[in-house]
């Protein structure tokens, strides 16, 4: 029986994993994760490893829970009152949801970039060093060092180095998004969480961000949500296909896009479905 139809009818399915993915060292392991918005369940029994130093793409139709999963990783869903969860995730081998975990410290180990660029209404410099500011860092030279390093990391340094004290809002959309990436890597996180970072950008800005992701991988483990299949195939090493809150198939990108194990995945990727 077609798995997608089964999911739609509410039946549990077995997720399919490629061995190459399981063989990799995982920076983040998601274990039997369920999430509810109030009564409504949004994620069902998600289990998957995220490989260290690689780009993992989450694909799937709108509303299948990609953002929800991403926001669970750095516990942004704590901010929503109605959310409750089951299961756990491990960062390295520490639990993310254990009761003693310091959420603030946890979030500092992950950088997050949102769909719409959200620079703070302050100078470019202050935007980048914000994570250090909230830690009470005052040392000018260190702040400057981090600022330059992060902006170089986000491939923005050359464009803004002369106007660090102008408002972050004065940049163009693509620059703003790279500024947000610079901010996300300023606290030197282990994992970067990108939620459709290019969906609000024009093609040129998009390709710049894609180049940037290419450059960042290795130093950071990246989990990216994308709607754009070409983008997923271009930049990611692993791809996870989700459907209605369930993980359908997780595999190496090249094989997912050429010869997936499941017919359903192939249908989705080739656009015959969804």
């Amino acid at each position: 029986m077609n798995r997608l139809k089964a999911i739609a009818e509410g039946q549990p399915i077995e997720s399919v994993y490629h061995d190459e993915v399981l063989a990799r060292e995982a920076v983040l392991t998601i274990k039997d994760f369920n999430l509810y918005y109030g009564r409504k369940q949004a994620l069902y029994n998600i289990s998957m490893p995220i490989a260290r130093g690689m780009v993992t793409a989450l694909v799937g139709p709108s509303g299948c829970g990609k953002s929800t999963l991403l926001r669970s990783v750095n516990r942004m869903n704590d901010l929503i009152d109605s959310v409750s969860i089951e299961g756990d995730m491990l960062l390295g081998n520490e639990s993310i949801f254990a009761s003693g975990v310091d959420v603030i410290q946890l979030r500092k180990r992950m950088g997050m970039v949102f769909q719409k660029p959200n620079p703070f209404p302050m100078s470019i410099f202050e935007n980048v060093v914000y994570p250090l500011r909230i830690d009470g860092e005052r040392d000018k030279t260190r702040l400057m060092q981090v600022c330059e390093h992060s902006l170089r990391g986000a491939a923005l340094w050359d464009e803004v180095k002369d106007r660090l004290h102008e408002s972050g809002l004065s940049l163009s959309g693509g620059q703003q998004q790279r500024l947000c990436i610079a901010r996300a890597i300023a606290s030197d996180p282990e994992v970067l969480l990108l939620d459709e970072p290019c969906s609000a950008l024009d093609p040129i800005a998009t390709s710049k961000i894609e180049d940037l992701i290419e450059k960042l991988k290795g130093d950071y483990s990246i989990l990216i949500v994308t709607h754009n299949m070409q983008q997923a195939s271009r930049i990611s090493d692993h791809t996870a296909f989700m459907y209605l809150g369930r993980l359908v198939e997780l595999g190496v990108t090249s094989s997912i896009f050429t010869r997936p194990k499941l017919k359903e995945t192939e249908d989705y990727i080739t656009g015959r479905f969804g």
């Binding site: 750095n74 942004m76 009152d81 959310v83 409750s84 500092k108 992950m110 949102f114 703070f120």
Partner: protein, 765 residues
Amino acid sequence: MTRAIPERRKTSSLKAQGEPMIWLTGGMFAIACSMILGLLALVLYQGLSTLWPRPYSMYSTLGNELVGGELQGNNEYVLSGQTLEDLDSNTRSRAEKLLDGASEIRSRRLYLRTGNFELTNRHFTFLPTVALSTDKPVQPKSIWLLERREWGNLYGFPKSLSWTEANESNIADLVQKAMHDAEQLNRKIEAEKHKLERIDRAISNARLDVRRAELAEKVELQAALDQATAEAMAGNASGSVVAIEELPALQGLSTPATRAIVGLIRKTLDSEPQLISINEQIAKLEEERRGRSVVMQTPVMDNIGTADIPPDQWFPAGSEKTIGDKAGAALPQAILDAMGSSDAIHQIFKTVSLGPQQWLVSAQHDSKPPVYFWAVQENGASTSVYGMREQPVLVADIVRLIQPNQLSWLGRCGVYTSRWLEFLFGQPREAGVEGGFFPAIWGTIVMTLVMSLAVMPFGVLAALYMREYASSGWLLSLIRISINNLAGVPSIVYGVFGLAFFCYTIGGYIDGGPAKAGFEPWPSTVWFSAFAGLAVTGLVAFGVSILSGPRDRREGTGRSILGAVAGLLWIATLVGMVILLAKIPFFSGFYQAQLPNPTFGKGCLLWAACTLALLTLPVVIVATEEALAAVPNSLREGSYACGAGKWQTIQRIVLPYARPGIITGFILAMARGAGEVAPMMLVGAIPLATELPLDLDFPFLHGSRSFMHLGFQIYSLGFQSQNSEAAKPMVFTATLLLLVLVTLLNLTAIWLRASLRKRFQTSQF
């Protein structure tokens, strides 16, 4: 195949075109606009024109009266048969002719500012045009307007000076110079009076010390004090040096009581010679002050005699005659006396015919200011001569000397400016009807600032809690609706609440402890057991809130019972604390010695500011909430994702972003508060205050003082003062000022919002 074409109407209906609605809506809009503009124009015109100096005109009436004044305007009134009774016979017959059998017609009357209140008992008068004997008034060149410290304006012709000889050309300069000297004199007297006040205050402080000792020792000291004072006085009078401590009346008293009484007596004795010398000095200065006066001839007429021929024949026009000519013999002796007839000096008469057989006559003297008469020839036979009543005016009482009929346009502007400056920065005269509004302006500004200091933290913190911390639910919605509805509570209710709660309860508590605030204190054993109980409740609340702890995501949603219990316990603790404070048996106020005179237990700056803070709280809360709601959630999420905590996010992202909105709400609250009158009259505004709420005396800001307030001033001058007709112009000027103040605040708010919003606008993609 043919298709049936539905028949169309050639023109669309009236309804479809919508013409009537344009007229209806546009008409309503026009009415609203014209009402608002009309009100604004009225206030603007009246407020701006009040201080403009106008020429002085003299009108003669059919009743042979001479009425002078500044023409303020004219209006229509109903002339009816009944009102004719009050008119004199000539006027009545003219009016009857006008009426021509009708019971009433509309006629006009002039509105004149006549001044000279002490002579005529009025500042203003209405002069019906039907009573005028001529349409053309005389505008005598040499008329003076003296604005005085007391009694308002005096209009008249200068006649002589008490301290020196003067003639027409130099009299104004002499008076101006004398006014300048007198100003210094006035200032000296002020300074001496200030010294007196200081001594008085020192003595009453010493008396307060005695009262405090009395309260502390729980003894009656009045008898001992009286006796000791008498003994000390007697000793002092006999010339022997008195050791106050050893007076028999003080034996047997405790040390603090003795010390206080000795302090008071010593202060009284020590300041005695000083008081005497200051009072002597004041008497001397007052004497000097009374020394210089201007004798004015006021257009208030008294009959001083008769002459047989009309004034135009007294002397042929333009001729010069000496006293003793045959024509001069026709004059009544009173006129000759007034002219100083003993010397053979040139006399030139000028006569102006004002109406049929009415003349204004001036006798010119080449070394003195002219003397004026009013001559009325009756029945062609004899002439009644009216002399102007003389009125001396102390130079030191004159604030401003204006020659209204000689002013150039520039001169008028000068007077106007000087009056505005006095209005803005001067002290009130004549119970606030004249002179400056400075205390009222200052009081309004200080009160508004104190109010903003009170409302700002409250409003912003409350809104922060509601928007950022509290989880939304029906309770929060209920509270939000209630806050919005607070705006509908009539402001007088706030005034009553402020009076009862702030002034009498809290103020009374500060003055004289729980008993004065109307709470029966508990016996100390009861109080201590209650205190212990409260301490336990507080500890339990603390423990429970720790136990209820932060919520765990995996536990599922829903507020834990423990949390609710902790909340209730905290509320109970808070209520208990208030009750304990109200029932405390060991506190009897900070100002007990001053009682029964209240210090904070009455309307004063502090409570007025608190009342207004309460009144403007909804404005601040609503504006702040809106400003917080306008902060994009993506910014908050971005901040959290960087690892910022809740407060860090609020402090670094939310508040800066919401600041323009918050400040705007805050300024709107100030504008609302500044214009509010009703509560003010209950909780601290008074029509005339001698002291400012913020001045250079330590501790500078005097929360317990009553103050003057622009809005209240408008009310009290316009509707409460004895002389509200005279105050009317000032009411408009004060309204204009308040309007300008509020408009400025509102404009600042708009400008701020616009300029700050621009700063936060995201650039385009």
